[in-house]
Structure formats: C-alpha cells, structure tokens
Amino acid sequence: MSPETKRNLKFALSAIFLFFILVELGLHGARFLYRLWKPSDVWKGSYIWSSYEGKEWVNGLFKETIEATTRGYNIFFTLWGGSEYRGKYVNIDSLGFRKTWHPTGEPLGKTKTIYVLGASTTWGVGARDDYTIPSHLAKILNKDGYRYEVYNYGTPASTFIQELTHLALLLREDHKPDYVIFYIGFNRILEAYQRGPKAMGGLTNLGEKLEIQSDWDHIWVGLTGIFRRHCMICKTVKRTSAFLQRSKKDLEEVSSEYDEEEAKEVAREIVEYRLRTIELLDNLSKAYGFKYAIFWQPSIFTEERLLKEEEKAGINPSFYEGDLARVFKYAIRRLNQKSVPHFYDLSQALRGRQKPYYIDFVHLNEEGNEIIAEKMGEIFEKEFLK
C-alpha cells in the first residue's frame, strides 16, 4: 500500500467516524430541544392523545405513572410494581398496591370486601387514583350507602395464572375477601402468542434474563443494551425501517406468523389453559368461601371498527388486522361457547363509541374505565345481590 493510499484510507475512516459522531450528537441535541419546546408531546408517540383532550393533568399523571411503576419488583410473581409511592395522581401504598377510592363516613352495617385482580388495565395506567376501574366500581357499588371496600390488586404485565397465584398467596396470608373480580384477557393472549400457549411467566422477561449463561452472552447483552438505550442513530434507523415497512408487523416482540388453522389451534390451547386456571379458582372459592366473577376486557383487537383518532394515533392498523387480532377473536369466541360459570365477556362494551376511550391497544381513559366499571357493577348486582 502506497503512503498516499494509506493517507487517503486514514482520512476516509476518520471522516466516516466523525460523520457518525456528529449525526449522533445532532440527533441527541434535536431530541433535547424538542423536549424543551414541547414536553407534552413526549407521550404522543405511545398513546392516543385525543383521549385526553382538555385534560391538563395528563402530563403529571404519566410522569407519576412511570415513576411509580419502575420502582419495585415482587420477585415471587415475577411482577413489577410494588414500592410505596406518593404523588398527586398516582399513589401506591406500603404493600405495593394502587390507591382506590373509598367512601367517607360510617359504613351501613358490616362492610364486604371486594378484591379486583388484573394487570395494568386494572392497576389503572392512564387514569388517576380515583378513576381506575376498581375506584369507579367502588363509587358505583357504594352510591346509596357504604357497603363495600374495594381493593385494587392490579399488577402491571401480569397474566391470569399469576393473578390467581397472587390471590392464593393473599389467602395464605389470612386475607378473606367476600368477592374477587378478575379483569383479564390481553396479556395472556399476547404472552401465549409470543411465547407459546404454555408460557406462564407474564410479560416480564425474567426467564430470558436467567437464560443468559455464558460470559460472552453477558457482554453481548450489555453492549446491545447500551446501544439500544443511547444510540440515536440506531433508534432512528429502527423507526424509519418500521415506518417504511408498515405493511409488516412492526412490533418487534410479535414474531409469530400463524396461518388460519394455527391461529385457531393457539386460541384453543389458550382457552384450555385458561379453563384449568378457572377450575382452580373455582376450587379455591369453595375452600375459602368467596364469590368471584371473571371479566374479559375489551381491546383494539376485538373491536369491529376503529375511530379515526385510534387509527391515526399509535395503533398500527396492520398490527390490528394481523394474526394477534385473529387469535383474540378465536379465543373469545371459544370461551363464550364453553359457558364458563361467572365469566362475562366485556369485549364489546365500547362498541358503537363516538369518541376515543382507548389510549393504546388495551388501556382505557377514565371515561372508558367508568363504562367498564358500570357494566361490572350491573353484573355484580345481578349475580350476587339479587
């Protein structure tokens, strides 16, 4: 190699290196300035912003939600959430559970306790403490007097089996609820869709972390993690490629591609798995003397029609129309055919809506939560009080 070629090569390499550094710095700077200029837009990428039209508290709510849900980790259930947190809109008690609206004044006779178990939709992502589903339910059931204490045992990213194990642990700890309500559907289907129908670790990937075995794996995970987190070029390339390939599934975790028959089979296995969990719940309810109701939550995947705002903001129609939606529909159809006791399908509860209640694929805004709680209250009264 001649000295001149060497010089040119050195120059070219340095120029490329410098170019990347400058682009990276430029992107970091642009993001910083954008956040200074329009801090409220940070959420716009993740949620259907129009669901919060005119709500000035929404930025505070999401800031607190993130702070509150990234603090603790309850290892036994491989669930997250769990450390005490005090905010204006989000409060978590010392036991790790979301604050629920409680009536003031003297109770009318002996109060009954209701435990509501579920994932982040029950916990109340997107809603202030007093407007989560359990809080709305407490308001509805205590309208003409104080009879019920409602507890929010929602833990983000959990699935039905984890929630049931959670209940078993509470029962073991001498908790004696009168009624137990499960609000389920989304996470289990997503988990089964991603990791197979028999998976039961919830959406947290602790299992994968434990599978890191070789020293090289540790180094690789660390390096790729740093890049994923800090490299703006990588993030930009990823987003651009996702944008250009909108016809394909762009949620990286959704990797399965099932044909019609496979989707049916996955749905069948999900339902079989769920029925076994319901049988265990039924047995526990008899042994511990509580009554229960299971509600299947609505989600974008079971809606027949999306509002324009829902289509525009954050929800990829190709994802909505994809295999996951198919598995959802087959699973709920199959569950309804099975006539499971105390099981209620609320997947159509928001049908015919004229304004957006969804804030993403499955979480609802406070008005959406209220509609669900009203349906729950109605069924609760019919099932248990009449």
């Binding site: 980790y73 290892i75 036994f76 259930f77 491989t78 089996i161 984890q162 194990t165 078993a168 642990l169 029962l171 073991r172 700890e173 001498d174 998976a199 039961m200 670790g201 919830g202 602790l206 299992g207 972390k209 434990l210 599978e211 070789s214 020293d215 090289w216 794996d217 540790h218 180094i219 690789w220 995970v221 660390g222 390096l223 993690g225 740093i226 987190r229 076994r276 969990t277 049988e279 265990l280 047995n283 526990l284 008899k286 042994a287 511990y288």
Partner: protein, 384 residues
Amino acid sequence: MKRFVFSVAAVFLMIVFVEGGLRIASLVMWHFQKEIEGKKDPYAELFFFIYKDKDWAKDHFKELEEAQKADYESLNLWIGQEFHGKYVNIDSRGLRKTWNPESFGGKEPKKAYVFGGSTIWGSGARDDYTIPSLLSKQLNAREPSYIVTNYGQGAYTFFQQIFHLLLLLREGQRPDYVIFYSGANDVLVTYQNGKADVTNGPTNLQNIEEGTTHGEEILNGIKGLLYDHSKIYRALLRIVTLFVPPTEADAAPKYDETFLTSLTKDFVEFYAKSHDLLDHLSKIYHFQYLSFWQPILFTKQDPTEEETKLMRDPRFFDNETLADLYRKIGRELPKKGFPHFFKVSHVIWGNGNSQFLDWCHLSEEGNEIIAKKMAEIFEKEFLK
C-alpha cells in the same frame, strides 16, 4: 512512536509470559495432586469419605455436575433439564428418575408425590437410592400398589413446594398422597435474610432482575472470561482475598438470642400459613399429605469423627447460629400441632455411622433410614 510501540509490546509479552508460567505451574501442581487425590482439600476428603468404597462414586458425581442445570419456569420455580446418565437421569418433565415397580398386576396404583429440595431430588445418591426411590421400595415391598414421583428440585423451600403442587393441581394432576420433606432450605433462607417471609428460596433471583445495569452486565462477562481463562486474574484474586478481610455484607451473619427467638416465632408463623394452605388444598383436591422435618448435620447429637470435621468447615454460614436457629424452630414447630407433621430430624442418630455428605445431604444409607421412617409413618397414618 517506536518507543511507545516497544513499551506496549513489552508489557503484552510480559503478561503472556507470566500467564504461560502460571499455567505451566498449575499443570505441574495438578499432575502432582493427582497422586494424592483428595488430600489437598480437606473438605473434599471429608465429602468423599462416605464414598470411599463405592466404585460408582466418581462417575456419579461427574453426572451430577452435568445434570444440575435448570430451566426457569416462572412464578419463581425452576425445573431441571432432561439428562440421561448411568446413575443420574432426569426425564423430559425435569423430574429425577424414581424406582417404581414395573407392573402393578393390572391394578391402578396409588399416586404419591414427594416434594423437597436437593435432598429429595437426591444429590449424592444414584437414581434408585434417592429418598423417593427408597420410599417406593418400602411402600411396594409387600405388594406393588404405589407409584412414587420425585418432585424434588434444588433449593426449593416448603413455600415453593406448595406452589409447585398448586400448579400441578391446576394442570389436572391428582395425587392420592403428597409428601413434603423440608427444613434445611427454609431455615437457611431465614438465616441468610434475617427474616422469615422469604418467598424466593436460597437463590437470589431478585439481584438478576434489579441489580444489573448494562455496564455491570459487560463487567460481569469480562470478569467471568478472565476468571475462566486467566491465571493471572485468579492469582490476583487470591492475593486480594489474603489481604482484604471480608466485608460485613460477605460475612456470615451471627444473631443474638433475642433476635433468634423472634426469628423463630416469625418462621413458625410463616410455616403455619403454608401448612394451612396445604391443608385447604388437600381438602379441595382430596389428597392426603405428610410433612416431614428433615435432619441437618449441625443438630446431630452423636456426629462421627468425620462429621465433626465436616462441621468445622465455615463456607457460607455460621454453623452455630444456624444450628441454634434450626434447633429452636425444630422445638417450636411440633408445639403448633400441625396435622400430619412429623419430625424425622433425629432418626439418623445413634447408629455410629457417618451419613452426612455436607450440612444437609445424606448418603444413600442415610436416605434409606429416612425412607424407612417415612414408610412407617405413612402406614400408620393412612393404612391402619
């Protein structure tokens, strides 16, 4: 520039030479050690005392090491991976092979599930000589009527065993009898954490989830690589250990009498809650159960000379404190009158032989004594 290149090359060469020298030294030492195998490591010598006349022991421990890999199952349970050896076999469900009669003469056998930690799984014993296998031999001695399944998994506590059972029941499994053998892991986690309500067993999964940043992840990988491949790194580590005393966090905890008493009270309450859940499950799913409190070395009244030496090995806990806690808990639990609870912690005393391989695992002979006692109680409780 030339000087700089020369200096870097010199440092690199020096490292290569030192590394090479240490490797050769270690190879020579290893060769020399082979002649006097066992003598250099007093712990290994004691551990292998039990196996001195057993020609299968060497292969068995090799297999044991290979077989001890687990898959994380979620809900804080882990299950062994399939393994097939001469002495150690784990089936596709992750369960240790258990001796059972080949046929039951056309009759439907009763199903007995045995839960426990590594002592039930059978660390130190061949497939046919684990406690569940020996129990199966005892129960089926007169007439083949029982099929015993070993649900032992390394490091499981009583609490985890019950939740494991709960998941099996959910799967539709219906045992007739369920046997629990616990104590060692339960008391160990209580001792390690200084509190009784520990749900994740002796393995600290929480650190995996909470403790590692990306930087730490890379550092752990590099440390691991250095530890595996660099003699210099190992030599340096040894030197550091010689001069730097263990920090308070590393030291085995020692508790005073008052704290031990309160820990005992908390443990008994925690254990009682698990027992209560088990009792409920047995009624819902119509199985009968027995819960055995296992022996540990530190509470053995008549340890042999080898076992006494084994007790002096201060590896990861303070023997006296742990023994004290175990004794206190062992005294308090029977007072609670739990149904179907039996202490078998004393049954291996008094025969003059060494039975412990370490602080809690038993030899095959020790397993047999325990299995015989279990069968005796099983018959008395359920068959008479």
